[in-house]
Amino acid sequence: MRHGPALLLLAAAVAALGLVPVLAPPFYANLLVPFFGYAIALLGFNLLFGYTGLLSFGHAMFLGLGAYAAAVMAGVLGVRQFEIVLLGAALAGLVVAIPVGYLCVRYTGIFFGMLTLAFGMLMHSVLFKFYYLTGGDTGMRIPRLRILGLEFAAYNKLELLAGPFYYYCLGLMVVAGLVMWRIVHSPFGLHLRALRDNAQKALYLGVRVRQFRLAAFAISAVYGAIGGAILGFRTGLADPELVYWTHSGHLVFMTVLGGFTSFLGPIVGALALTLLQDQLQSATQYWRFVLGAILAAVVIFLPRGLAGLAADVGGFVGRRTAGAA
């Protein structure tokens, strides 16, 4: 793998992220905790979208599932360890992904998108409706948990989020990224790309198209649930709005903004949108309009997203320097 310069850049980025709690105002460390949650969720989402070619418009349901699983385990069952909660969230994601995925992966393209949207909204209604179980619109609390077995009693929640938990999530993101890298570069990943590009041909070649799609769906759900648990812990609450279809739309927005054709694109997109949205919301009350316009511009002019742009620029620079040498 001749990824020398890229790896260096990556290490620098991780280091930069690591310096945020130290160098930047405390607000930014808190702002970036959800970014880690989204980054992990989107790594999974892009396995389904970028690598398998299935655009889900209901993916937020898995984030919500992760948050609610955290609420049930920590709030109701009294689990104190975040790691166990993460495991529970992942399991919840898997358990729901299998039947839902089974129904949805019979289809591709638009129909798949619409079905996933419908399932996402079904979950929203269920969460809202069965308020005795789920707290309805007021949601379920997620109390403070131990990370790596440590209580960090000296920190209040905000300090915890901007300090130990921040680094914990950064670590989780790196690990999740490494695992996804292995998945994507495994034979399984190759099969996914094959059936994305030409499902018929893949079928003839003996690839079990539907099963592979279901597997990708399940993995993306697990990643989504883990991301959702992180979001839930940060907010301290699991509420139905996490699952509304426009939240799914934002996931897609982040992925496309960052670039779904590149492995790191979604992570770049999550970071970009998190920072962008923060600035926009402070700048104007019509920030939704501006975001929509940006999305439209990205879709039309920058289909490979920011990562694609960076790759182009990098390639251009590479060529220039190569030429100069």
Partner: protein
């Protein structure tokens, strides 16, 4: 007429009225998907646009002294006028026709976001509504049972639209052209069809159905900031149940959704929120491509 029967009639007609409006918007969705393979997430925004502008236009008209019975024509004209956003939006979507269909979906999502703030900017934060002006057309009543004639007119309008669209697609030359382009765009183009203008026309027609649907529903309802985003779900449920791309599917899906929802309110009101999704899943388990759809993949 006994109380039971009249209550049943009330509920039935309530469900059919709702189905009529759903059908109009769903028909627009189906038309656009059938020919251009675009699913328009902004269909709810067009619906809301028709509703908001319908109120403005009617207030203008009635304020300028037009008699109350001009309500329906005013609403229809309002819907027609708003369809003018069809061509420019289609032009925008045209930039991503040749790309993966996900891009088209995303572009329409961008429109949803933008429209949310447009509504707030133009019409403000308060919900808007008309008085019961539509009662000018009177009510049809027998015993306990009564229904506003306006509601029947809207149902009639939806039915006529269904018949007209069906005839148009099956019997006219242009309709055949549309179906040919839907089947095989490259072939149609090779045969000399101006696909660009066809797409523009189809998208505008689809938009029109949406804005008119929103305008027609407004006398009995209201226009509010969240209606666009909420409506998308119902419209999609109808289309998924009916089968993507099928007009008959739009009709069947709308009727099913409208009636079952109304019915569930009598039998088990608590279930209302979930009824739609259970129908969607039920239909999909029994007939995966929807009632009238072609099997996908």
């Amino acid at each position: 007429m006994s109380a039971q029967v009249s209550a049943f009639g009330d509920i039935l007609l309530g469900g059919i009225f709702h189905a009529a409006v759903l059908f109009l918007v769903a028909a627009g969705l189906q038309l656009v998907f059938g020919v251009q393979k675009i699913v328009n997430l902004a269909c709810g925004s067009f619906y809301a646009l028709g509703a908001y502008f319908g109120i403005t236009f009617v207030n203008l008209g009635l304020g300028a002294g037009m008699p109350a019975w001009t309500l329906l024509p005013l609403l229809l004209i309002a819907g027609l006028l708003m369809a003018a956003i069809g061509p420019p939006i289609e032009r925008l979507l045209r930039t991503v026709y040749d790309r993966d269909e996900s891009f088209q979906l995303l572009l329409t999502f961008a429109l949803v976001l933008m429209f949310q703030d447009v509504f707030r900017f133009v019409w403000g934060a308060n919900p808007q509504s008309l008085n019961n002006v539509h009662l000018v057309y009177g009510k049809l009543a027998t015993g306990d049972f009564s229904v506003p004639v306006y509601n029947l007119m809207v149902i009639g309008a939806a039915l006529s639209a269904a018949v007209l669209i069906g005839l148009f697609l099956k019997r006219t030359n242009y309709g055949r052209l549309l179906r040919a382009t839907a089947e095989n765009r490259a072939m149609a183009e090779a045969l000399g069809v101006n696909v660009r203008s066809v797409y523009s026309a189809v998208f505008t027609l689809g938009t029109l159905l949406g804005t008119v649907g929103g305008a027609l529903v407004v006398p009995t309802a209201a226009a509010s900031l969240d209606m666009a985003v909420e409506f998308v779900i119902e419209a999609f449920a109808v289309v998924v149940i009916g089968g993507l791309g099928s007009m008959a599917g739009a009709l069947a899906g709308a009727l099913l959704v409208g009636l079952i929802r109304a019915g569930s309110l009598v039998v088990y009101p608590e279930f209302e929120i979930l009824a739609i999704y259970l129908i969607v899943i039920g239909v999909l388990l029994l007939r995966p491509s929807g009632l009238f759809g072609k099997p996908a993949t």
